[in-house]
């Protein structure tokens, strides 16, 4: 039997391909949107997973350090060590800063303050692409590749100049900003110390001297044989701190930082899928309208509806399938150009493929409806 859909597509191949490419680009954007969502989830977990702490101790009644501002004394680190269940601790600061590259362009980063001589690795060795981790207490910086800074580069920051001693790969904050690591002392100076005029003004007001021995969180690893939630409950008894386990901290990130953004992206993606479906439907409807005279003739000479409907449906599904291939190609070609991480998963592509097939099938019903309504009598009488 002659496959009418194949013949029709071959007859208008270039038009069909261009249409499929157009729809494909739209689907590519849908894939990118899903990739942005996946990237956001991944980004949120990178820092948590890299630090790999069992407990996060923060200012009482706060969700810090990522969801809310948190400040606590650095010596909490030493107090925690007195607990039986605690094996290692590290005091950390986090703050958003702006660096300037050689072209004097601003680069927004999140600076993580870590103790270079601390007990556990905050920067996993596996992430280090070049150079080394921090070793000095001042003016060294480890940057992530996305910042564009090179090993050995001098970066002015405030009144000081930092030297890039290491470059990591793919380290970003929960908000997707590239990370730089500096020493805890430098970070504390930057975040908590005031300028001389401010100090003089504070003294004139009778306010006490500034305290710079503060951090945003103290993280800890627990000893083997101890349960994180039990140790957390023990710390909680001190009344002036709040402690979260790794899972709780992940949940805070998901619920407070990612959930709304992911809902927004999810809604946007759903709208894009809907728009794609409507566009495919309109294209098929227009393609059917262009053939309505031929369809009337076919119905008049006795070609069964089934054959015509089959043609419309096959063309729709083929358009959906080719558009899907173009969409994937398009998405894979451009996803690296996006400033934030875009994660393209084949599983997402396959789900989208079936969604698009379903949308195409529903969209083809517009054309099928037109076919069923086509009047064979309109072929007679000119």
């Amino acid at each position: 039997m002659i496959n009418l859909a194949n013949k029709d597509i071959r007859h208008t191949l270039s038009k069909f391909i261009v249409t499929a490419m157009g729809v494909g680009m739209l689907l590519g954007i849908v894939l990118i949107m899903i990739g942005v969502y996946r990237g956001m989830l991944d980004d949120a977990r990178i820092l948590l997973d890299d630090i790999a702490a069992d407990l996060w101790v923060v200012q009482q009644h706060t969700l810090g350090p990522f969801a809310e501002s948190s400040r606590l004394h650095q010596d909490i680190q030493d107090t925690l060590k007195s607990l039986d269940g605690i094996a290692q601790t590290a005091a950390l600061t986090f703050q958003n800063i702006q660096l300037f590259n050689r072209q004097n362009q601003a680069v927004r980063v999140m600076a993580v303050g870590i103790d270079p001589l601390g007990e556990f690795d905050i920067i996993p060795r596996s992430r280090l692409m070049a150079g080394r981790v921090l070793q000095a207490q001042h003016y060294e910086m480890v940057v992530t590749d996305k910042t564009g800074f090179q090993l050995g580069e001098k970066i002015p920051l405030g009144r000081d100049t930092y030297t890039v001693v290491g470059v990591t790969q793919g380290t970003v904050s929960s908000g997707g900003e590239p990370l730089v690591y500096i020493s805890l002392k430098d970070a504390q100076n930057m975040q908590f110390s005031y300028s001389n005029p401010r100090i003089r003004n504070d003294r004139a007001r009778g306010q006490s001297t500034q305290v710079t021995q503060l951090v945003n969180t103290v993280v800890a690893k627990i000893r083997t044989g101890y349960r994180a939630d039990e140790v957390a409950a023990q710390i909680q008894q001190w009344k002036h701190l709040t402690t979260y386990t790794h899972n709780q901290q992940t949940a805070i990130l998901n619920e407070n930082l990612i959930e709304r953004a992911s809902k927004q992206i999810g809604l946007f993606t759903a709208i894009l899928v809907l728009v794609s479906g409507i566009i495919i439907g309109l294209i098929i409807y227009t393609m059917t309208l262009e053939k309505i005279k031929e369809i009337s003739i076919m119905k008049l000479i006795g070609i069964p509806n089934r054959m015509v409907v089959q043609m419309i449906m096959q063309e729709t599904l083929m358009l959906g399938a080719i558009a899907f291939v173009f969409g994937n190609l398009f998405a894979h070609l451009i996803y690296l150009q996006f400033p934030k991480r875009v994660v393209l998963l084949w599983s997402d592509s396959i789900v989208l493929f079936f969604v698009i097939l379903l949308a195409s099938f529903i969209a083809s019903l517009f054309g099928v409806f037109k076919v069923m309504k086509a009047d064979p009598a309109s072929a007679i009488g000119g």
């Binding site: 002659i2 007859h11 003739i297 070609i303 007679i380 000119g382």
Partner: protein, 241 residues
């Protein structure tokens, strides 16, 4: 003895009801025998297309009877609920324009209906090739309609109408889009087909110069059909191809 191709008895078609009723055909009766080429003439709006659509099982009459060959296809109701099958099996259509399917080549256009009638691909291709050869298109089997002239396309349309061995052919102004020379050659071809394929052909035309080719003329007058025997009329020699 000649066999009947089309027989119509007291055919009525009325559009609308009550005061708004329009009586287009008010009791048409006529017969076309197999092997005859018959012209259907009338001024515009007199009901030519309506009559053609009723005989073609496209438009349901208000009353009357229609026989296609020996089969009574309409007796105040269609004999088969699926009139499309009736059309596919018994009727060939030729239109003003060729209306070939633009994305199928010549042989595919012609063999589509036999294939739909569940003939094998080989049989369909063979039948289609035979008719296309008969119509002088043996070297155009794989051409697309867009690559053919108007006359060639109309011949492909005729081959398509013949491919299912229909009992009747309904031709709706098949020469309207052609110049007079091609029009004469197409009508002569239809006359030859009517004779050689033993098929009854009704051809709607406005061109009186083509009437001499026809065995009968059906003229719609005030909703009724007058049958005029035209066998003694001869086409002008200069027009014969």
């Amino acid at each position: 003895m000649k066999k009947s191709g089309i027989r119509v008895e007291n055919l009525v078609k009325q559009f609308g009801e009550g005061d708004n009723a329009v009586h287009v055909i008010t009791g048409a009766s006529f017969e076309v025998e197999k092997g005859e080429l018959v012209a259907l003439i009338a001024p515009s709006g007199a009901g030519k297309s309506t009559l053609l659509m009723m005989i073609g099982c496209v438009l349901e009459p208000t009353a009357g009877k229609i026989w296609l060959g020996d089969t009574l296809v309409y007796d105040n109701a269609w004999s088969k609920a699926d009139t499309r099958t009736l059309r596919r099996e018994k009727i060939g259509f030729i239109f003003q324009a060729h209306y070939l399917i633009p994305f199928l080549n010549v042989i595919e256009n012609v063999s589509l209906l036999p294939l739909t009638n569940k003939q094998s691909e080989q049989q369909s291709t063979q039948i289609s090739s035979e008719f296309l050869n008969f119509l002088g298109l043996e070297d155009k089997l794989h051409s697309m309609p867009s690559d053919l002239s108007g006359g060639q396309n109309q011949r492909v349309a005729i081959a398509r109408a013949l491919a299912t061995h229909p009992e009747i052919i309904l031709a709706d102004e098949p020469t309207a889009a052609l110049d007079i020379e091609r029009a004469h050659s197409v009508v002569k071809l239809l006359k030859d087909i009517a004779k050689s394929q033993e098929v009854a052909i009704i051809m709607v035309t406005h061109d009186e110069r083509l009437l001499p080719y026809c065995d009968k003329i059906l003229k719609i007058v005030a909703g009724k059909v007058d049958t005029i025997d035209n066998r003694n009329s001869q086409p002008e020699q200069s027009n014969l191809a």
